[in-house]
């Protein structure tokens, strides 16, 4: 197989919905993805590559049986926030290698079963035992970034304002209200310098994508490249904020495989779990030079209507963050954009999209895993 394609995508509703279990969320997402792919018979699926971070053993099988998806290999991946994008990366290679003709990718998370506040690293890690919850991890990123390059609060606020403006155009967004920079900066401080409106919310949701070979269907979106790595040791020798070097390395792999650079991409969906995450991601992807991420967002370059919109979906800040489902949510947005099906938030003339998902939480390394996917072209 010379190329793998996304045949269809789907998502459940996003939100804090503790009364809705994983099986119901999965049915919503998979039904939409199968319909979108034109798969009328689940026997056309050769395998399922699922992902969940906090789900119980058997989460995927328990849900999929209700859709009649049984008897095929069902594999479950875990790679922190990059869980379902890891599943997609592996599914793509399974199709390219000829191991499977068509793979259903699935991400599902019921965050409200596990958390009521910020996500905390495992207590087996120093950070987890010391109470450095994920907002604190990213606040440390902001602190280091400020030391290296300078960081104005208005740049952080601009990320939130932009993405929430985009999210207001996305009917699937968990938080679809626009905010002002003043409101962002005046909202409750969570971890200096990150205020509440700079932090994504947890979410219960499922996402799905059908991956297969070329079949001559115009709506199918080619996966031009995908790259995956886990972080190197991140220790006293490191100068860069957490995650930066991993993102940059993975992005370099993806650009090399795709044969294009960031300047050739029409839109990006990146991991804006916290505002500083988008700023560092835009630099690591090469959209801006190191230290240039603040000017990039303040210039309007990354807003809808700008040269290269970043997070036209509204990002995690608007959509919410169902960890194991987030990667495929980003991919779904990229697919809709490249097809021209993104409605009011459509990026005009979008042909090529890139997705970056950063998964972290393990102490001592530069990230559990990062995935960059290039779609279309």
């Amino acid at each position: 197989m010379s190329a793998a394609f996304v045949h269809g995508v789907g998502t459940s509703r996003f939100g804090r919905q503790p009364g809705v279990g994983a099986p119901a969320l999965v049915q919503q997402a998979v039904t939409e993805a199968l319909d979108d792919a034109g798969v009328g018979d689940v026997r056309e699926l050769d395998a399922v590559f699922a992902g969940t971070v906090f789900g119980a053993p058997g989460t995927a099988q328990r849900a999929l049986q209700l859709l009649g998806i049984t008897g095929v290999p069902i594999l479950t991946f875990e790679n922190a926030c990059a869980t379902s994008s890891t599943a997609l990366h592996e599914a793509r290679h399974a199709v390219l290698s000829g191991r499977f003709r068509r793979v259903l990718c699935l991400g599902v998370e019921t965050m409200t079963l596990h958390f009521s506040g910020p996500i905390t690293p495992e207590e087996t890690d120093v950070e987890g035992r010391a109470g450095l919850a994920l907002p604190g991890v990213y606040a440390m990123v902001a602190s280091r970034y400020e030391h290296l390059y300078g960081l104005e609060p208005k740049a952080l606020a601009a990320v939130s304002v932009k993405n929430r403006r985009h999210g207001a155009l996305n009917p699937r967004a968990q938080h679809g209200a626009e905010v002002t920079a003043e409101e962002v900066l005046a909202s409750r401080m969570v971890a200096d310098p990150l205020t509440l409106l700079q932090c994504c919310d947890i979410s219960d949701a499922a996402t799905a994508a059908v991956i297969g070979g070329e079949r001559g269907v115009g709506r199918d979106v080619r996966i031009a490249a995908s790259a995956l790595r886990s972080g190197e040791l991140w220790d006293h020798r490191s100068t860069q904020p957490w995650g930066y070097e991993l993102m940059a390395r993975v992005a370099g792999d993806a650009w090399q495989e795709a044969g294009i650079g960031p300047e050739d991409v029409d839109l990006f969906e990146v991991h804006d779990a916290f505002t500083i995450g988008e700023i560092t991601a835009t630099e690591a992807l090469g959209i801006a030079e190191p230290g240039g991420g603040c000017d990039l967002v303040l210039s309007g370059h990354t807003a809808l209507g700008g040269r290269q919109p970043v997070n036209p979906s509204g990002g995690l800040l608007s959509r919410g963050h169902p960890l194991g489902a987030t990667g495929l949510a980003q991919v779904a947005e990229a697919v809709w954009q490249v097809r021209g099906e993104a409605g009011a938030r459509q990026v005009e003339g979008a042909r090529v999209a890139a997705v970056e998902t950063m998964g972290g939480g393990t102490a001592g390394i530069d990230g559990n895993g990062c995935v960059v996917v290039v779609l279309g072209g």
Partner: protein
């Protein structure tokens, strides 16, 4: 979240010469680590017990102002790169994070087991 494993946080030794942060150092390449390892993660050579300087440079810092299970906000934290040693996560007094590139000194551990550091000039 609960755990049944040992506390991963570094420990200190207090003696006539003051406080030292305990850890390990590779006998081959000198790589310092604050968490117990069987062999050096860089070169696979054996490691030996080591006592690191309590002083170092603040690498990054913040203050958590949101409730985290088991912890009472606000609490300030910092990564400190110990002189010729590993980078460690410390609690710092008050709710104003220590500025990166400033000097800090580990003075001991808190009642809850975290390394505690203060601005270096306060200890001298």
């Amino acid at each position: 979240m609960s755990t049944t494993t040992g506390d991963p946080r570094p420990r200190v030794r207090t003696g006539p010469d003051g406080v030292a942060v305990l850890g390990w150092r590779c006998t081959g390449c000198g790589y310092p680590v604050a968490q117990q390892v069987l062999t050096c993660p860089l070169c696979r050579e054996p490691v030996a017990d080591s006592a690191f300087s309590p002083e170092g440079e603040v690498w990054a810092s913040t203050c958590l102002r949101v409730r985290v299970p088991g912890h009472t906000p606000p609490y300030a934290v910092a990564y400190v790169v110990l002189d010729d040693g590993p980078r460690v996560l410390v609690r710092t007094p008050g709710d104003r994070p220590l500025p990166p590139a400033s000097r800090a000194r580990v003075t001991g551990t808190s009642e809850t087991g975290d390394l505690v550091a203060v601005p270096a000039e306060e200890e001298s």
